[in-house]
């Protein structure tokens, strides 16, 4: 894992230890971002078992894609 050595604005994420990191690009690192996310969400859901769900439909009239 490629940990950044500072807390400047290039940091993409602050993990549970407060250490910012950015996953290396490509597959060479062997780090799967979705596996990382699942691991992160295990912790998040333990800390916050009740997660807000959508309480209003999507907004807007600008559907152009």
């Amino acid at each position: 894992m490629n940990f950044s050595d500072n807390t400047d604005t290039n940091a993409v994420l602050v993990r549970e230890a407060g250490v910012p990191f950015q996953l290396p690009l490509g597959n060479a690192s062997g780090v799967d971002p979705i596996a990382e996310w699942l691991s992160l969400m295990e912790v998040v859901q333990m800390l916050c078992p009740v997660w807000p769900v959508r309480d209003r439909p999507m907004q807007g009239d600008h559907w152009r894609l």
């Binding site: 994420l13 979705i34 990382e36 699942l38 969400m41 959508r54 807007g60 894609l65």
Partner: protein
């Protein structure tokens, strides 16, 4: 495996049974493109022709439909949310066709391109300016993938939403 993973695996299985191959969009697609953050957004881009049978299948799985239009639909089931965007315009159809397939812990999944994801995030923000998370995601994706992005494609999306200057602003 977590409930979230089970929910996504169940959805992928449902899509396969209904003969449609959606592409992951939204917050989890942002994760798939290397910006790992907490999200429970399970969003898929689905071919418009599959909308009715996917709708019926989701109701069979116990989801409740909160909203449905020709462009999008929102479903909830207890604490699970699932949103769909329907590909019926040429741009979305192209992005769906070009989505790349990837092996994930929940099975094989098709994932929208970074450029397409930024386009959909921009559409979300334009539709609801309170969704500043969308801008944060765009910034993070631009920061990580800047050297490999197709800038002409991105400019096309920002022009489509009359926000040509916003791209330069987000690029810093």
């Amino acid at each position: 495996m977590s409930n979230l993973a089970e929910q996504i695996r169940e959805a992928l299985s449902m899509f396969a049974r209904n003969g449609t191959e959606p592409a992951l969009i939204g917050g989890l697609a942002v994760v798939a493109h290397q910006v790992v953050r907490a999200t429970k957004d399970v969003d898929f881009l689905v071919e418009a022709e599959a909308a009715d049978r996917v709708h019926a299948a989701l109701l069979d799985l116990g989801y409740q439909c909160l909203y449905r239009s020709e462009d999008a639909a929102n479903y909830v089931r207890a604490a699970d949310g699932l949103d769909l965007l329907y590909a019926h315009r040429p741009l979305a159809r192209r992005l769906l066709a070009q989505a790349s397939e990837r092996e994930t812990p929940m099975g094989r999944m098709r994932i929208i391109s970074v450029e397409g994801l930024i386009g959909f995030k921009l559409q979300g923000f334009v539709n609801d300016a309170t969704r500043t998370r969308d801008l944060d995601d765009i910034r993070a994706l631009l920061r990580i993938h800047r050297s490999s992005l197709d800038m002409n494609e991105l400019r096309e999306y920002f022009a489509l939403f009359n926000k040509p200057d916003l791209l330069n602003e987000l690029l810093g």
